[in-house]
Amino acid sequence: MKRNFADSALSARRINRRALILGGAQAALMAGLGFRMRHMQVDQAEEFRLLAEENRINMRLIAPARGLIFDRNGVVVAENAQNYRIVIVREDAGDVDEVVDRLRRLVHLDEAELERSLREMHRRSPFVPVTLADRLSWEDIAEVAVNTPALPGVTTEVGQSRHYPMSEDFSHVVGYVGPVSDYDLSRVEDPDPLLQIPKFQIGKTGVENKLEHLLRGKAGSRRIEVNAAGRVMRELERHDGTAGADLQLTVDHRLQNFVQARLAGESGAAVVMDVWNGDILAIGSAPGFDPNLFVRGISTTDYSALTENMYRPLANKTVQGTYPPGSTFKLVTAIAALEAGAAGYDSTVWCPGYLNSGGRRFHCWKSGGHGHMNLHDALQQSCDVYFYEVANRCGIDKISEVANRFGLGVRHDLPMSAVAEGLTPTREWKRLRRGEDWMPGDTLNASIGQGFVLASPLQLAVMTARVASGRAVQPRLVKSIGGVETDVVEDGPLAASDAHLQAVRRGMYAVSNTSRGTAYRTRIEVEALRMAGKTGTSQVRNITAAERARGVFRNEDLPWERRDHALFVGYAPYDAPRYAVSVVIEHGGGGSAVAAPVARDVMLAALHDGAVPPLEAYPAAQREEIREQQEALPLRPMSAQEPGRSRA
């Protein structure tokens, strides 16, 4: 094929021209690509870098270790127990059903829970660990660990869960923790991110709840790198957070155990308090319950057993239960009368067995009357008429003022749930609250701790401690926080005359140590440990005239819930007071017969560092009976290693 030269030249020129046009177009497009790169990689680099970091980095919270709670001797009351779990990773297990089958032969697996786990496993990525069983014993875990080669993909994990080794002894003091509920979340303004952790435990009642902010600690965090499928590749950064502060209570676990054991079978409360620094050595409410049940999530059966119990185990009777203090209130009335000049040390009141006032007859507990009564004898024999008379002279407002000074009708700030304020009525109060005028009869009722007056066992203990020490001691439940001793609340002297206090103390001594005293039977025989006290029996019903006429108000004949409350307050040793005690036995009957023996045993135990009191402290005639009673006490066995098991 021949072509002429011109044709060739034309063609070459045209191709060259077109080639340059094409080259230009390509260059333009490449410049466009270059600019796009620059825009993305230089101008927008920051944004994209951020997006890339968001892609790969996840934050995970690490729950801090909850602060431990110790008794005053450093014995653990609330601890973080190891919680063993069995976890399976599907992709490592191979044949999951086979592995689970083998596992089932080794340890008990809850079938319902297992089914849920298996369903979860198939829903999630194969590398996500799924919990097969929770709260296993160490033995079970060991069994699994030994058989690891036959259980591919199965691993054991350790978590932490609250445990209360003292079981019910501290159920009301320390309270319990439980998983965060929606209600808990709604209560806090700015929820701690920790609360979002599944199954995170927070304090629900007692010290656990009130001092949650100290015990919880600060969340740690973990920055982890994940790949596109969500698998954790590595840990980039880890802040362990801060463990919660350890708390030391003022309570002595041995004494507390003794108190709970001594109260067993009754519905009642007892408080032992140091009269000088206010330390609460024991604060027991019976019956108790096992707080560990709540940590696990209590079953409906267990819960209804607790709520339907007539003795109300869940109520903390020491601070939230308020009772008419009965004759124990006479200590307050006596001081008020002395201060108002309504009574002297020796001036007497004639007790014929009743006092007529405002057209009503107010009876003394002793129908025959006590005859001439001075302050000392009136306290010793708990003569009602004497206190009716002097109260009538000094008036309710004075009595109420003194009561407040001695810690009644005042809310003591202890980190426990539902601490009650009690009630010390005044004229003002009745007008405001009841819309009625104060009646002279109201004063008479109040003077012997009946009528409107209400006090908690804690308040009664505070009152007794103040009488004993003459100082305005404040109760203290927390001894140290994070190893730092908490301040003893600055009390200062009580605004009460020493002579007045001394007169009352002498009366209290007579109650427990003279043959005519209402608590003479429950005296302490050791000279150096003599107890001074006051009995109280408070009615929960009115005695009708008909009943009085029939003479039928034997407590034993009444249904339990209508029987009198039995009370006793006291301190010891009389010469050099150390502890104040208050005991309330709900519907127990007479204070001297029911509450006083408990108070004596508890006081003796307190004076012996929580140990079971020696028989020598008791009157010789009672020792045999006491010995039997002591042997029957349901004390928790103290393991030898316990006192050494202090801060871990």
């Binding site: 497009l29 690509l33 230089v42 680099a45 970091e53």
Partner: protein, 381 residues
């Protein structure tokens, strides 16, 4: 001028041919391929397996093929271009019946030791045949309708076959590659204007066909178009790829996150990171500097192709050289646009860098043709 008029004496012969090869292009090709090995090593998490080593072997084979092709006189290749075209058409039809289905499309023939993708072969044979056609066709007839219709048919036959495989990316490359050769040969602007108008109409028709019984594209192809237009519409579905690819690219910044430090690729946020999206890994790990460098390397190859072509004395050589350069350009420009979110995800590899056998071998053979044209042009006077 056709090579038939060469004074053969001025054409290098024997071993001297090696000296007359276009060495800058060889060096650029090796450099680009080495970049590819580096990236394949990186995306495998610092391992020669499973990609970098086989890729190296194939590249060495490709180099050998290039040299062999380069040593054969260019006029031989001109004479067999029609045959080569027919062979690739046959293979394209063969995959229809014996092909292995991969990623929803029939694309390759498994030859046992090698997976042959005839559509790759077709891209080059098409350019060869068109170059030969225009070498043969007298210049004054180039723009005559009848003589324009013939090359259009030559282009459309393989395009149609590829399109119904369906492989949209390759179809577009065939169409564009063939069109560029026609443009270079001097076909009148009017035709291109007409085609552009027709293309606009076609795009409209294709989009309008969605959801009708005569739908022209598969559903996944439509979805790709959707997500291209708005990747955010489906961030966890098909838009995920584009979004993650852009994040990887952008997060590289100016200097990159460092070799093997790219979190997006290392943590599998990138799809197809060893094939179509390998550029994002490079951009992430070596930053703007790295990605611009690669773009420049490709640009230089094009420049050397054009300068080589300008010195050619015959149309076949010139058109072939420019055509191969344009094919390379289409590859990397579409691939880069795709990962930067400028073009829909159509499955075009990054030439010489993406992991893949046929594409690289065919490209190396094509550069063998370019070398042959370069070597066998008359020199001196």
């Amino acid at each position: 001028m056709s090579y038939l008029e060469y004074t053969v004496a001025t054409v290098p012969s024997g071993a001297r041919k090696i000296l007359y090869m276009n060495w800058p292009i060889v060096i650029l090709l090796v450099t680009v391929a080495c970049t590819g090995f580096l990236m394949l090593y990186s995306v495998a998490g610092g391992s020669m397996q499973p990609w970098a080593e086989p890729q190296m072997k194939r590249f060495l084979l490709g180099l050998l093929v290039m040299f062999v092709v380069a040593m054969v006189p260019i006029w031989f290749w001109r004479n067999v271009s029609a045959l080569a075209y027919l062979v690739s058409l046959t293979l394209l039809l063969a995959v229809e019946f014996f092909g292995v289905t991969g990623m929803g499309a029939q694309r390759w023939i498994d030859l046992g030791f090698f997976r042959l993708q005839p559509s790759e072969l077709a891209k080059i044979t098409l350019v060869m045949l068109l170059a030969a056609y225009y070498d043969w066709l007298p210049v004054e007839r180039v723009s005559r309708p009848l003589w324009v219709l013939l090359p259009i048919t030559i282009i459309l036959v393989p395009t149609a076959i590829v399109l119904q495989q369906p492989d949209l990316g390759t179809a577009l490359l065939l169409l564009a590659g063939g069109g560029i050769v026609m443009f270079l040969a001097g076909v009148s602007w009017l035709y291109f204007g007409a085609v552009a108008a027709a293309a606009g109409g076609l795009v409209y028709t294709v989009l309008a066909s969605r959801g009708t019984p005569w739908q022209l594209l598969k559903d996944y192809q439509f979805r790709r178009i959707d997500t291209f237009l708005d990747p955010a519409s489906d961030p966890l579905g098909s838009g995920y790829h584009i979004t993650q690819s852009k994040i990887a690219l952008g997060s590289g910044g100016l200097t990159g996150r460092g070799f093997m430090q790219g979190t997006q690729s290392r943590l599998n946020f990138l799809p197809e990171k060893h094939t179509d999206f390998i550029f994002t890994t490079l951009a992430e790990e070596f930053g703007f500097i790295g990605s611009l460098s690669l773009l420049s390397l490709y640009g230089l190859i094009i420049v050397f192709c054009i300068t080589s072509a300008l010195a050619m004395r015959d149309r076949f050589s010139a058109l072939l050289t420019l055509g191969v350069g344009a094919t390379l350009f289409l590859y990397f420009a579409i691939n880069m646009s795709m990962v930067m979110g400028l073009a829909p995800v159509v499955g075009v590899p990054l030439p010489l860098v993406s992991y893949g056998g046929s594409a690289m071998l065919v490209l190396m053979a094509a550069f063998g043709l370019v070398q042959s044209a370069h070597v066998h042009r008359p020199r001196g006077r």
